[in-house]
Symmetry: C2
Subunit: 383 residues, 2 copies
């Protein structure tokens, strides 16, 4: 019996790697449903190769176009389409590779339908971690990390008693600009920002890596995934990204998970958990070929967004929501050429500083705060 | 209720580290019995500090001397003393830090008495691994590794399914002479050989590290401890000894255990397994302070003893016994100034090459082969 899979965000970087995992294990997995946003040519190929039952699409006109081509497939547009993919019948696990807070409602719908979640869409844990984890608990659903860092920690935590864990240690490559001073950052371009030293990834996450916002989001994600207080989460600079992350035990030992910079590995682990399978790859990673691994402390003044992420994480409530929402708008503006690089940081700092916490927060209130923050940051950019 | 401990070899390097672990956890452990060989002054201090019931000593005259000083303690000489320590009443775990094959009979006696073994005395697994592991199984006794490499592998294997393990990857610092050519090895002295780059250890193991015999013994030890075939055991050069060892999983990921070069950590883990406790230490190991880790392939021509260890391991039977026995005699001769450094290798190679396997091996036959090999190598040195 094949494991039935839904894939939210099939045409992005994580989506493509996920399809490769499914392609290499045709006897194990069946892609029942997927969503995509704009890459219709790739979507057609995916439909022809994987023969899904349901496809979530951007808008009604796209749904009509595709229905004409593939009458047996059900095409559903917009949020309704994402939710249909997330809750498709008989699906056991939903891989969420949407980018940003748009993934929240589909993921919540999947959880409420008892689907396990393979989570690549870290922003939803940052935005609404309390409610996502609460819903997962209530519905006895697993949240399986796909981020390489969190997958690494999750992998080495298996079989360990949490009382023996002193710290979770997330590695950070430092991103595209790790060797630049803050003065030099004033002049960097979008093109510069998109050159990640180790990983080929989507635009948003590559820019988030360069600002260290990504590592900040990961810290908050780790807090929720592993129920770890922020004083037990550390970030260490590791240029090569070979050690994907570590845990530190009470007796001083570290356990590290390391390997190739290949997202298919954590994706496959999330889909096969608690089992493992060989991973078909062109080039096998061998530690004896690695030569050198570097580790260093992170300079918090050089990377103020990491310190801010810890601060909003500790404050809790909707502060991480604001941090994440401001970042999403700012990064989109930077990609669109509307702001300079360092304005990303300024916009986030300003949004967080101005945020006034509400009492008795609910998920609906958090969604509203997310919207309002976006609106405010958007208006500020237009000024 | 304190866990009662016996310690075979209390005054050596591992013995001292073990006593430090006991000293730091007085509410957890009680030292019921220990043995020592020649360092009587240290032995007196241990008796006064830990108040053991039984002490194994080298000979009758030493037993008499100590009985006069400590009439409440039972002093027993020679092999009988070691066995009395290994089988002392109510002892739960015996830490075996004897050096070489002398530890075999006491360890077998402990196993047959249902004591768990914290094994630092790797030679006994090389000499008679089949019988030791068989006895452990029959008596439902745990063999807990104390070697930092095997402890590392044992630690990261917890909670893992062996079918997901592709390889055990033992790290090797390369020892005192890793940067010398074979030509340069012709001139090295005992003093040179005793300068290990990373660990402060006893003489025999430091010399074994320089010849890579130690790594060969560890390969054979890993074979028995983890029931791993030799094609699943790899050795990788890692100059810093920070990564104590690794496992490689079927999907390509590695799990590594890393930390300080402090034997108290694996010792404490073996004594507290499956629990962990904080380790009191002066200087805390922090990965962010590490700066650089190097990995490289091992040159088998440069280190012929490693290749020979794999070969005798694969041949099995009493070939590893011969390899180990010849090495013990050769290293003692080198320490005594009777042979040059490279003659250690020659003596081992010759003993292995001349060995004729017996059919239907028993433990008694293996013990006899060990004796005969020692005799032959000893005679050859005298020639």
């Amino acid at each position: 019996m094949k494991k039935k899979i839904s894939l939210l965000g099939a045409t992005g970087s994580i989506g493509k790697s996920t399809l490769d995992v499914l392609r290499n294990n045709p006897e194990m997995f069946e892609l029942v449903a997927f969503s995509f946003y704009s890459n219709i040519e790739l979507a057609k190929k995916i439909i022809e190769e994987f023969q899904p039952k349901i496809v979530g699409v951007r808008d009604q006109s796209m749904a009509q176009t595709l229905t004409a081509l593939y009458p047996k497939v059900e095409f559903i547009a917009e949020l309704q389409g994402l939710i249909a993919v997330a809750t498709a019948k008989d699906v056991k696990i939903v891989l969420t590779a949407l980018i940003g807070s748009v993934g929240l409602l589909p993921t919540m719908a999947a959880i409420k339908n008892g689907k396990d979640i393979a989570l690549a869409n870290k922003e939803i844990l940052v935005m609404a971690g309390y409610w996502v984890m609460q819903a997962a608990k209530e519905n006895d659903v697993k949240i399986l990390p796909v981020d390489s860092e969190h997958s690494a920690i999750f992998q080495v935590l298996q079989g360990q008693d949490m009382k023996n864990i002193k710290e979770l240690v997330i590695t950070a490559s430092g991103g595209s600009f790790r060797d630049l001073t803050r003065e030099e950052l004033k002049q960097v371009t979008l093109e510069d920002a998109l050159q990640h030293p180790n990983w080929a990834m989507g635009k948003k996450i590559t820019i988030d890596s360069s600002t260290m916002v990504n590592k900040g989001l990961e810290v908050i994600e780790a807090h929720w995934l592993f129920n770890a207080s922020y004083d037990k989460i550390k970030v260490v600079l590791h240029r090569e990204s070979t050690v994907h992350s570590m845990i530190r035990l009470v007796d001083g030992a570290y356990f590290a998970q390391l390997g190739a910079s290949d997202m298919r590995e954590p994706i496959q682990y999330a889909l096969t958990f608690p089992n493992r399978r060989p991973l078909k790859k062109e080039k096998v990673f061998d530690i004896a070929d690695v030569a050198v691994l570097h580790f260093d402390k992170l300079d918090k003044e050089r990377f103020p967004m990491l310190a801010l992420a810890f601060a909003v994480g500790v404050k809790g409530g909707s502060f991480p929501t604001v941090f994440n929402a401001a970042n999403e708008v700012a990064v989109n503006a930077f990609i669109a050429g509307k702001i300079k690089y360092l304005e990303i940081e300024n916009l986030i700092q300003r949004a967080v500083a101005k945020h006034q916490e509400k009492e008795n927060l609910t998920l609906e209130m958090v969604i509203e705060i997310d919207k309002q923050t976006r609106q405010k940051v958007y208006e500020r950019i237009k000024l």
